[in-house]
């Protein structure tokens, strides 16, 4: 046996086993995570359904096509509503509005969250104080009551629903993103970028943001879940846009037509289960993101980061 002092070529990983770009290992982690895969599979199914809805069930899904309150049959797989609409068509078409609202709300809230979070963290001082104050106030205002009141006040329509959900939903993501951005802001590489003369915008979006990918994704998913759930809630209360076909409206009508009273469970169950499945799928992906970025939550551990701080 010999001892050799070897000069390692520079590209060899010195500290971490995977010589990959961190983001790529994140993607890899997600792609090998069972929860994420399940979640993504479910989401893909729903997205496909939403996209294919006009092909699968052409025409207006709320059109009256058959006898009222028919049980599931070969012709109407999920039966019909009290008005004689095909429940399956309503459900499949409902995914369009629900997913659309969810995604729009998710992206919009996350986007605002990113802007607020980054600006807050980067500029600090007064801007931070002011923005966090606003964020915290919005966070504390009880969401659904505010939602109900807002929805009652603004002219109905999908736009209003989205607007209202974004108004009540952005603060959560802003807070999470701000605290993450703040911790990245205090990293030396941001100071280093300042010292090397980078401009604010570039630092925020090129230096800080890329390091928040997983948190951004997490908040995005959470916001989408929020959007879908809150839209359903609003619509159930009759405060949504009654002219669209969506899961929430399907449930509103189901309640209105006494679906449960008549024992027409098939009218009531599908939309609720769809909401739950989508929310569950997104939650699964979210937990997977957590697990991938926070190895402690996983069963298997990777070598710990060696951070021995010389100064307290």
């Amino acid at each position: 046996m010999t001892t050799a002092i070897l000069k390692q070529p520079g590209t060899t990983a010195a500290k971490t086993p995977a010589a990959r770009k961190p983001n790529r290992s994140f993607v890899h982690g997600i792609l090998t995570n069972k929860k994420a895969l399940t979640g993504m599979a479910v989401m893909l199914v729903f997205i496909a359904l939403a996209l294919l809805a006009p092909l699968l069930f052409p025409g207006d899904p709320s059109r009256i096509t058959a006898m009222a309150s028919m049980e599931p049959s070969a012709e109407h797989w999920l039966g019909t509503t009290a008005k004689g609409q095909d429940v399956l068509a309503l459900t499949v078409h409902g995914s369009r509005s629900s997913l659309f609202v969810g995604l729009t709300v998710g992206f919009a809230s996350t986007f605002i969250g990113i802007l607020v979070g980054l600006a807050s963290a980067y500029f600090g001082k007064f801007i931070d104080e002011a923005l966090s104050l606003v964020t915290n106030v919005f966070l504390l205002l009880p969401g659904l009551p505010l939602l109900v009141i807002l929805a009652a006040f603004l002219p109905p329509g999908l736009g209003t629903v989205i607007l209202v959900l974004v108004i009540t939903g952005w603060a959560g993501s802003a807070r999470v993103l701000r605290s993450q951005a703040l911790s990245i802001r205090s990293k030396d590489f941001v100071a280093a970028a300042v010292v090397s003369g980078e401009r604010a915008g570039r630092i925020m979006f090129r230096e800080i943001l890329p390091n928040m990918a997983s948190i951004v994704m997490g908040t995005l998913l959470a916001c989408v879940i929020y959007g879908i759930g809150a839209q359903a809630g609003l619509e159930f209360l009759g405060l949504g846009d009654a002219s669209t076909v969506s899961w929430g409206n399907n449930l509103f009508w189901a309640g209105n037509e006494g679906a449960l009273l008549t024992g027409s469970w098939w009218v009531f169950v599908p939309s609720g289960v769809c909401i739950a499945l989508v929310a569950f799928a997104l939650a699964l992906i979210n937990y997977a993101v957590d697990e991938v970025t926070n190895p402690r939550l996983r069963k298997i551990k990777t070598p710990k980061d060696t951070d021995r701080s010389a100064s307290k």
């Binding site: 205002l141 109900v148 809630g233």
Partner: protein
């Protein structure tokens, strides 16, 4: 102390913001309550009646800032006006008769969900990969993915209508004389079961997972290792060392959770016709009862803020680090 004062300052600002928001919102509204009521009574009202109503209800054309000043003074003198749909009952009176039920429902549900959820979270984290840890989280998350109202309707139908195990509406049987009798308390309890259960079911998963995750993070802290090295008994380490610290984020989210519970309670109350403020809020919104709506929103907000403030005080008791600076 200073921390408390700062938080207090923050809550005051938040409260002011909600007051202002509350003031501005109804003014964006197209139409006015009188037309709305007119619409509802389906033409059983004379134009003169309508004009009279309008005057009576102070739906006036004063400049906005004047209305704002008037509004603020009213709030700070404890006057929230008179309910339109319940005219001439003062808004405060309408709210007072209902806030208790919401506190009961929301409070019960929140406390049960938080306590049970956190305990489950502690156990799951402590026995990583054990039965609780592997089976419960996905199940609870799945249940939690259902909308409040959907579960509530399902529970109502299944346990109330089909199985007839629990009452399906109201906070107690109509006609029962409220009082400290076993009959009444039992009746209120029976009426509470289904609504509280649905809220608990939907929200418990979040508590459990939150606690589990912080607990896992806490478990790898040095002081846990140190406690183990000290040869302390596992139960003591779990509760006094790990859970006691992991609890702190939970305490903060308890305040936040409150807002959601109020929301969840709103939907649940509507389904169970439970006479809480959420239910009343929906009524007020549907009846375009501005003063009541404002009063309710303000009350809910004030309650949430107050609860958060109390939670902050509690937090200070629990976390010595905050206490000293």
């Amino acid at each position: 102390m200073r921390f408390i004062l700062r938080r207090l300052g923050f809550y005051l600002i938040a409260f002011w913001a909600s007051i202002t928001l509350n003031f501005l919102l109804p003014r964006f509204m197209p139409g006015d309550p009188v037309s709305r009521m007119f619409a509802r009574t389906q033409d059983r009202m004379q134009p003169e009646q309508i004009e009279a109503l309008r005057k009576l209800l102070g739906v006036d054309d004063r400049p906005l800032w004047e209305q704002y000043i008037g509004y603020m003074t009213n709030i700070f003198t404890g006057q929230m006006g008179v309910s339109i749909s319940r005219f001439p009952t003062p808004v405060t009176e309408v709210i007072a008769s209902q806030i208790g039920w919401t506190l009961l429902l929301g409070g019960t549900a929140l406390v049960i969900a938080a306590v049970v959820g956190n305990l489950l979270g502690v156990l799951a984290a402590w026995r990583r990969g054990g039965a609780i840890d592997s089976a419960l989280p996905p199940l609870l998350v799945f249940i939690g993915s259902f909308p409040y109202f959907w579960l509530a309707m399902g529970a109502l139908y299944l346990f109330g209508v089909v199985l007839n195990w629990f009452p399906i509406r109201h906070a107690f049987t109509a006609g029962l004389e409220p009082g400290f009798t076993w009959e009444y308390i039992g009746d209120v309890g029976a009426h509470l079961v289904l609504p509280a259960l649905t809220i608990v079911l939907v929200s418990i998963g979040g508590w459990m997972l939150g606690m589990r995750n912080t607990m896992i993070a806490t478990n790898s802290e040095d002081y846990i290792t140190m406690a183990e090295a000290k040869g302390l008994r596992p139960g003591r380490i779990m509760l006094r060392y790990a859970a006691r610290n992991a609890m702190l984020p939970s305490v903060t989210s308890f305040g936040m959770g409150l807002g959601f519970v109020v929301g969840g309670a709103l939907l649940t109350e509507v389904v169970f016709a439970y006479p809480g403020v959420g239910y009343q809020l929906l009524n007020a919104v549907q009846g375009l009862d501005y003063p009541l709506m404002q009063g309710l929103f303000l009350t809910i907000t004030a309650a949430v803020l107050l609860a958060n403030f109390l939670v902050d005080i509690l937090y200070v008791r629990l976390d010595p680090r905050v206490r000293s600076n």
